[in-house]
């Protein structure tokens, strides 16, 4: 059901709902991307923002909600809550923990953030070692699945069944092996 001029469905509105801090490890998180970060079956880490990365959570949204209001030609990525690296340590034994937290907006109840805690404390402008950032983005990128490519690049379409994506990868490998 559409409820606004920008095509935002009713489910996206917060409507006084409370924050839901509970995430299942298997819950999917979604984000959009425009540049060609999908190559040879991999999502490139250059497309991952750090430390506070906005995502939509599956429990309260559909994947295409990340394309609202005017990103219909962008791509969509998906990864599971459990795919987020739990923690990394920098030189000097400083521990950084990562977790997704529900951070609803009035017009996007599912909005969440992948946040970083330094020695148990989260700050918006946290001072992070660059190598920790780099490693985090690399490890997470390896768990990301592209479920829609940007239209402008590949006549974008939803990969409704992930087997389709696997099929693409297999086709590439077959091509290489010829």
């Amino acid at each position: 059901m559409l409820s606004s001029n920008d095509g935002r469905p009713e489910r996206m509105y917060r409507n006084n709902r409370h924050i839901d801090p509970s995430f299942d490890e298997n819950e999917n998180l979604y984000n959009r991307f425009k540049q060609n970060y999908f190559k040879d079956g991999k999502f490139l880490p250059e497309g991952i923002r750090f430390p506070d990365w906005s995502v939509n959570r599956e429990k309260y949204s559909e994947p295409e909600d990340v394309l609202i209001p005017n990103y219909s030609d962008w791509g969509i990525i998906e990864f599971k809550v459990g795919a987020i690296p739990q923690s990394l340590e920098s030189l000097g034994d400083v521990k950084f923990d990562f977790k997704v937290e529900h951070d609803p907006c009035d017009d996007n109840y599912s909005h969440s953030e992948v946040r970083t805690y330094k020695n148990g404390v989260h700050e918006k402008r946290i001072d992070l070692p660059k190598l920790v950032k780099k490693e985090f983005r690399q490890r997470l990128s390896e768990k990301i699945i592209v479920i829609k490519q940007p239209t402008t690049l590949e006549q974008g379409h939803f990969i409704d069944n992930k087997n389709d994506l696997l099929g693409e990868k297999a086709a590439q490998e077959r091509s290489i092996d010829k």
Binding site: F33, D40, P45, E46, I48, R49, E135
Partner: protein, 243 residues
């Protein structure tokens, strides 16, 4: 003169190597220029793996086989390797048809091969260098918030180091898989082969970081020294990682 380059570490749509065992096949699926309509042309084939890997007088007749998918061709003299490691032979396009696909098969599994058509005195930059240089130019036109989450476009510092990286890669004849702007404000130069991944990321702040990952959980990141030597060293490390 146009240069056609093949790479053993990637699969590109127009210009790539397909590995088979024990040999591999290098293909140039790209139309050759109009001179190929003439009855005779010359090709120079140069091994670029390990530099002068093939020594003068040691080229075997079965080391390279030349075939064309849609035109009859024959090698009309023996292959000769000069002091620069360039393997030269003369061939004849009997059908006088446009040559669309050139295939070279080497019995040396790790060789990559550069094909220079109608070689004369000057060598043109490989296609991938021009392609990625153009991508860098396009990135300079990105606007603020190009990713809709507040990313800044690559600035001149990042572009400059990315161009230098590309320059070294060109010298080493080592093609990246992709060049993209980074949402962390900079430029990423990525390499992918099989399940392995590596990149060099040049940030707007002037820092350069690199990563290699085997795709099985072994991830190594390091800071690249901000110099041509530092970049060259990082590229060598990445190159070795894929071997």
């Amino acid at each position: 003169m146009q240069a056609y380059k093949t790479h053993s570490r990637e699969d590109r749509s127009d210009n790539y190597v397909r590995k088979t065992s024990p040999s591999f096949r290098a293909s140039v699926n790209q139309s050759l220029d109009s001179s190929t309509y003439y009855s005779t042309h010359h090709l120079l084939v140069q091994s670029v793996y390990d530099g002068n890997k093939f020594e003068m007088g040691k080229v075997e007749t079965d080391q390279f086989n030349l075939s064309l998918s849609d035109a009859a061709i024959s090698v009309t003299n023996n292959m000769v390797l000069d002091s620069k490691g360039i393997l030269a032979f003369e061939s004849e396009n009997k059908s006088k048809q446009r040559l669309n696909s050139l295939v070279i098969i080497s019995s040396k599994p790790k060789n990559s091969i550069t094909i220079y058509q109608n070689s004369r005195n000057e060598l043109k930059c490989a296609d991938w260098v021009a392609e990625f240089s153009e991508k860098l130019n396009e990135m300079s036109c990105l606007k603020a918030n190009w990713d809709s989450y507040g990313a800044e476009p690559p600035n001149e510092v990042a572009l400059d180091w990315a161009r230098k990286t590309l320059e070294i890669l060109s010298q080493k004849e080592f093609s990246p898989t992709q060049i993209t702007p980074s949402v962390e404000n900079g430029i990423g130069i990525s390499f992918i082969h099989n399940n392995k991944y590596a990149d060099i990321e040049c940030f707007n702040e002037g820092e350069i970081l690199a990563v290699i990952s085997d795709g099985q959980g072994d991830v190594k990141v390091w800071e690249v020294e901000i110099s041509m030597l530092g970049l060259s060293s990082a590229i060598d490390k990445i190159y070795a990682f894929f071997q």
